[in-house]
């Protein structure tokens, strides 16, 4: 009887969240999955296509180009957001004077609108009027000058750089909070045993923040899979698809080309990549941990 009462009590608290989650997450995803099986321009009647959109995706060179671009973004995010964020947080945890100042400085870009950051960088990169090429000139590095957004070798990296830079601070703050929770006794005993900073980091700190590290990796990967704003503002994903990512391509397909069904299929692939990565990553981590 008591259990039943408890179940009702707890259920009552959970129910609103379940309703909201179902309405705003499960239902739209289910609708997208449904749309992905249709040919639909968003206005006229849908035509059931079965898996036709997915078959078309497999043969679509543009789609695979944006998948490769997104893969690069994920790799750079893991190295420069999670990796650099962790390193900076570890160093920052040792700072005694000015700790709060540095923490704030690293976090400030995170709270700026991605659109503002994108606009700022598009001006920065402008090879005719922007400061970047002028800076290279003044440093005697004129041979490094490029048409940053019109050069096939630089445009993707130029678009990735601001979004990677912007969110480093987020990981710094998360890792910093985790590192500060590492018991001082452990660090003290490591020091007494003669462990240097590297050994302390890998053998004492990392095992203690392992769960947080996993969360950050998942955040970086899923965040990259959803990447949209910076590329949209700086290049609109162009020229062609040179700086486009899956989420941006999905938007252009669904809402500019009026191919809602095909765009929905792209949405489902983003969901599938995110889910697949999370499951595999958690399994690998669990195996590593064991």
């Amino acid at each position: 009887m008591r259990r039943k009462h408890d179940a009702v009590f707890y259920g009552a608290f959970v129910l609103p969240a379940v309703i909201v989650y179902t309405l705003f997450m499960i239902y739209p995803v289910a609708m997208s999955a449904g749309y992905s099986l249709t040919e639909w321009n968003g206005v006229t009647a849908k035509t059931f296509e079965g898996l036709g959109n997915y078959q078309e995706l497999i043969a679509d060179g543009d789609y695979w180009q944006v998948v490769r671009n997104t893969g690069q973004l994920i790799a750079y995010s893991l190295v420069f957001q999670v990796g650099a964020g962790l390193a900076i947080a570890y160093l920052l945890a040792k700072v005694v004077r000015g700790f709060r100042f540095y923490r704030s400085v690293y976090f400030i870009p995170v709270i700026i609108s991605p659109v503002a950051i994108g606009l700022m960088f598009s001006l920065f990169y402008n090879s005719d009027t922007g400061p970047l090429n002028h800076l290279l000139d003044s440093l005697g590095l004129s041979s490094w000058k490029r048409q940053w957004l019109s050069d096939p070798h630089t445009v993707l990296k130029a678009v990735m750089a601001p979004q990677i830079w912007q969110y480093i601070g987020l990981y710094v703050v998360i890792f910093l909070a985790a590192i500060q929770q590492v018991p001082e006794e452990l660090l003290e005993s490591a020091r007494m045993d003669g462990a240097g900073p590297f050994r302390t980091f890998f053998n004492v700190v990392m095992p203690q923040i392992w769960d947080v590290f996993q969360v950050c990796v998942i955040l970086a990967v899923t965040g990259s899979l959803k990447s949209f704003d910076h590329a949209w503002v700086i290049t609109s994903g162009g020229p062609g698809n040179a700086s486009s990512f899956i989420a941006l391509q999905m938007f252009k397909t669904a809402f500019i080309s009026n191919q809602i069904g095909y765009g929905s299929a792209m949405t489902i692939t983003i969901l599938a990549y995110a889910a697949l990565f999370t499951v595999l990553f958690k399994r690998i981590c669990a195996r590593l941990y064991n």
């Binding site: 009462h5 206005v43 500019i256 191919q259």
Partner: protein, 459 residues
Amino acid sequence: MTWLSAKMKKSASIVLAATLVAGLAAGCSNSNNDKGSNASPSTDASPSASSSPNNGGDKITIRFAYNWTGADPKASYFEGKLKEYEAKHPEIAFKFEATPGEEHRTKIKVDTTAGNLPDIFTYWLGPVNLKPLVDANEILDMDEYLSKSGTVKKEQYTDIAWSFFDIGGKKYGLPLEAFKGFFMANRELFQKYNLEYPKTYADLINVAKVFNDNGIVPFSMGSKNGQPSHLFFSYLTYQFQNGFDDAQQIPQTYQYDTDAVRQAAQAVTQMKEDGIFPSDTVANGDWGPQLSLYNEEKAAMVYEFPWMIGNVKPEIVDKSDLINFPALDGSVVDPSSYTIGAVAMGLLINRKSFEDPAKQQALVDFADFINSDEVLGEVAKGGLFPAKQMELDPSTLSPLYAKAMEFTKTQNVWPHHESYVPDSNAYSVILSSLDELFAGFVSPEDYVSKTQKALDKAK
């Protein structure tokens, strides 16, 4: 005690759940009754943001979506008139949904997909934009509106203006904003370097060399999502044999791969190699950055359109002459004989809203107001070329507006390719491929092949 505690928990949980669910339901209910308030992703328009009356009592609600807002020079004139109209009609609860620039197109598409189309809205022309709305029976045949209107008559617009909204013989939009392109040159920069305005491509190369040697971009042209390059590309195409005729045939032939398009693509590549454009056409793409180079006197020439007139600095207007673009090698049409122009925007009415007896008269009156000489004349101060045939008071217009009107008045006005390409996916491929062409990512052959494939797919 245990029993009491359990009972209290049960009661508390029921009350809590009921409250939260009721709140959620109330939230949903409100949004249904007041569809326009939360449904739109766009910025709620400034005119009504503070003064919109509540949607209570017998008031009817009219949702009007438009894009003459934000940094658009027409915004202050247009939104000022909207405010006046709103104040004069307290019996109507207006919801003005303003979304700047191209984002307005996305807003309307999203609203359409969500079954939440505004009652009345401005929109672009041509089958690529209108056909999906017509196929879904979402928008009104304008003859129905004209039969109810007290002031707006079919004869007030040219047949060409109506033709941009013609789908299957019916007209689905009221022509609102027309446009004509014009080339400007900075007279002082040309004088400073003892240069004449170029008349041939050879002249253009010589001019470009001098300007480039002095750190000035000869001709400001960018391409980001095909803006504004697609208009310039159409202009170039029409210099070549059958360029304009071929474009007009696209709705029937779906043939974009023509000799004229190939020659124009070749010309773009050549101009890029000859240093005529900015080195980074993506960074200088879109309307603002392209004009910015010219406004800052970092570019000597620019291709502009009426909607940018209000953004040209007055001191730059004084230094500018309107010129003809030089004839390209192999061209057969005199480039001074035509300009790119069409109707840029029209006013569309939601068919279901119009068929609502409670809303019909209010919609007719509001559409009449938008198309009145009073409103169009006022908005012309911000650079609007009215599609309606009407007299404008020259004393109220900006000097550049007057210059552009005068310069282009004898030229043939030829619509750009967007007016003829019948499929939105194909046109978006053309736009993104233009970015590649101007950036030098693709060869002229690849550009033509890629765009033609998109049209073949749309057949």
